[in-house]
Structures are given as C-alpha cells and as structure tokens.
Symmetry: C2
Subunit: 220 residues, 2 copies
DNA sequence: TAGATTGTTAATCGATTAACAATC
DNA sequence: TAGATTGTTAATCGATTAACAATC
C-alpha cells in the first residue's frame, strides 16, 4: 500500500476551527455552504479552505458547495473524535482542575480515566467522578490500564522528574503545559505544547508594537 | 524617520523561548554561547537563530558568539518586559484562578490591576490581593484606570456579550481564552488566542496518526 | 442548458536553510 | 596572525493564493 503523504501541521491546526464553524452553521440551520461564503465568515481565503479539505478528499460538489453536516462529520472522522484515547492527567492545581472540569474530553476523542497529584491533601478526594491518586501509583495504574496520552499540568521540575517514568509506562503522547522540553530528551514522542507564559509574552510584544503605531498616528 | 519593517510573527513567537533558554544558561553559569551550540540545545538551526536575532540588531561578536546575559536583556527589551501594561482579567473560574495565581505578570511586562466575575458569591472576595468586582463596574473602573489589555477567561457567550463594552472602554488588546472571534467583529485589535479545545483536538489527530504508524511498523 | 462552484494545477509569496565574506 | 563565528546574501523549501478546466 502506498504511504499516504502526511498532511502539514498548518492544515491540521485549522481543522478544529473548521469543525467549530461548521457546528455553528449546523446549529443555525444552514445545511449548505460554499468555500467562498465560509471563507468570508472565517476570515480566510476560499482557496485555502478548498486546498485544506482536499488534503483528505473531495467533500464538495461542483456548482453546489459543501453539505455542512456531512463535511462536519468528515472532519470529525479525520480528527478521530470517535477513537477514544485513554488519557491521564497529572497535576490537579487550578489549571488541571480547569481542564478536567471544563473540557468535554469524550466529545474530543479522549477518555480521561485517571488523575494524579502529589499533594497528600488532594489524594483520595474526587474530581469529576475520579479519585485523585498519588503519582507513586502511576506504574501500577498504567500496567492495569493501557494509556496513550498524559496531560501534564505540573511545574517544569515535576515534569522533568516524571518524564522517564511516563515513558517507561509506555506513554508517548503528551499535552504539555509545563516548560519542560520533551522533544529534546525523547525521540518518537508526540508533544502538543501549551506554553501560557510564551503566549503572554508574545501578546506583550504585539501590544507594545500596537501602542507604538497608535502613538505615531497621533503625532502625525 | 524610516518605518521599521515589522518582524514576522513566526520570529516573535520564538523570542520567549530564546528568553527562557538564555535564562537557563545564565542560571547554569554559562556566559557565552555560539549560535551553533544554542541551536543544538534548542533543536533549531544556527542559521535560524542568527536570522531571528538579526531582525532586531547585531547582538553577537564574530569569532566569539553571544554574551548570554546581555543577549537575554536585549530580548527582554524587545519583548517590552519592562513596559508594564495595565491589564484586567474577566472570569475567575478555575482557569482564571490558575492564570492569576501562577503567572508572574510583573516579570512578563504586565500589571494585573483588577479582576471581574459575575458570580455574586465571588464578588467582594479577594484573589492575589485584588477584590473581585462585578462586571457592571467595568466602565467605571476603566475610566478611572486606563487599561490596555483584557484577559478573557470566560465562556464564548459571555465574551460575545462583553466585547462591545470592552471596546467602548478603550481596550483593544486581548488575551482570549474563549472561542469568540474578536478579529471577525473588530478591526485594529490585537488578539492572542489560546484555544485549549483546538489544541487538544490537534493533539488527538497527531496521536491517532502516531498510533497508525506504530501499527504499520508492527505489521511489517 | 447555463450558472455556480469545486478540485487541482500553476504562480506567488514568505520562511527556513545554506553559504560565505566580513571581522572579532 | 589563525581560527572561530557572526551578519547577511543567495538558494531552497513549503505554504498560500490565483486561475481555470472539470463538472454538478
């Protein structure tokens, strides 16, 4: 079988947004849309939308456009929203708590099965129906319950200290909120980083740049 | 004065990471580094590092490399870490709480001055030394305290409902955790989006792709 | 059929990498 | 001075946009 050429990460990162917009359209009772109209609503070019979608197949129909709900289903399939990935979360601070309680993992293709925290006061208490476990239970838990993904809502030092054990537990995929760099220490891992501090600093640069342009305008 | 050509967002987004690595090096007592060695530590090319830095000036020295602490200071200056931007946060749920308590705004160029939440049970209580206010106080607060940035840790519907008022309050820059699309409704705004759900779904795609390659390997 | 809109190829644009002269 | 490494120009690569024939 021919190896399917991998789709670029830029395209993949746009898929969730398409999925969201298509959901909104469906909710609004719209069942047909052209790439041009979708592009106007989303602030993209129609070309880009057609190129993106055609990485995965021809989902539209000439002269008609795309069927909203069937395109949405196609994207759900591409993203693997039905394939429930067994997932654990480590670090039940405010951020971990926010993630456990506000994200609907089931709807996103994940099955959150266990949460860990090394705070003895938290261990044994429950969150979203799960009993918080001590990280010393990691190995035992993972050998009994094969796990594909770990969410790390812990500080960098804790992530560094745990990384080797998580790899030993067979986990290769991480949603990483810490500033620990998995990619540098392990090959053949999948890491999606969310670096809030980096995002904040990027915002800072852009705000200062914006304020400079405003100042210049006033001076003119 | 000639208009400085704006630096591409790809470069800007790498600056916080450079800043972090340079901090680590400084902490480790290293005070000199070449682009090649830094590139190996960070998993980039030396060319890219030199190109990135030279968007802002020649900070290195031929035959020597870069001075760690002075390069770090240059990047701090470029990011505007000294220029404290007055900032408010709206939505003191778990996510807002995590952000208020775990990010060091002062060190990142921001001055968090007020927090708002429409939950009557939270209003009047304090967090990080600030008394949580009702959003009805927004206009009054902003006219008394000029504010450049708003952090939105609220659901999409709440963000939609508040957007016009925030714009009226003179705020044009947003750290947006909601799924509301500012860019589509307002021009001349700076929006840094953090879409956790999108990030999670992107991870899902990548994990499934990874699992497929592993399966193929086993079959061979 | 005529009109609309896709799928896809070609052109453009921008970002990354390579190369090397300048220079510490 | 010789060696090392930058700053910068040129080459490559990839992503976005434009164009249009295919076709519903």
């Amino acid at each position: 079988m021919a190896v399917k050429p991998t789709v670029s990460i830029s395209v993949i990162r746009r898929l969730p947004r398409y999925y969201r917009f298509l959901g909104d359209l469906a909710k609004a009772g719209i069942n047909r849309i052209s790439s041009r109209e979708l592009s106007e609503r989303m602030g993209l070019t129609a070309s880009q939308i057609r190129q993106d979608l055609n990485c995965f197949g021809g989902f539209g129909q000439q002269g008609y456009g795309y069927n909203v709900s069937s395109l949405r289903e196609e994207i759900a399939r591409i993203l693997g929203l039905d394939n429930q990935l067994n997932t654990i979360l480590i670090g039940v601070g405010n951020l971990g708590r926010a993630i456990v309680s506000h994200l609907d993992f089931g709807q996103r293709g994940f099955n959150l099965t266990a949460v860990f925290d090394n705070n003895p006061e938290l261990c044994g208490t429950t969150i979203a129906g799960m009993t918080i476990m001590d990280p010393s239970m990691l190995e035992e838990y993972c050998s009994a319950h094969p796990t594909q993904v770990a969410i790390l809502t812990i500080p960098r030092t804790a992530a560094e200290a745990l990384s080797e054990r998580l790899i030993q537990c067979g986990i290769r995929c991480f949603w990483n909120f810490s500033h620990y760099d998995f990619n540098l220490d392990y090959e053949n891992v999948v890491v999606e980083n969310v670096h809030l501090t980096d995002s904040l600093m990027t915002l800072g640069y852009r705000v200062n740049e914006y304020l400079r342009t405003q100042q210049t305008k006033t001076e003119e």
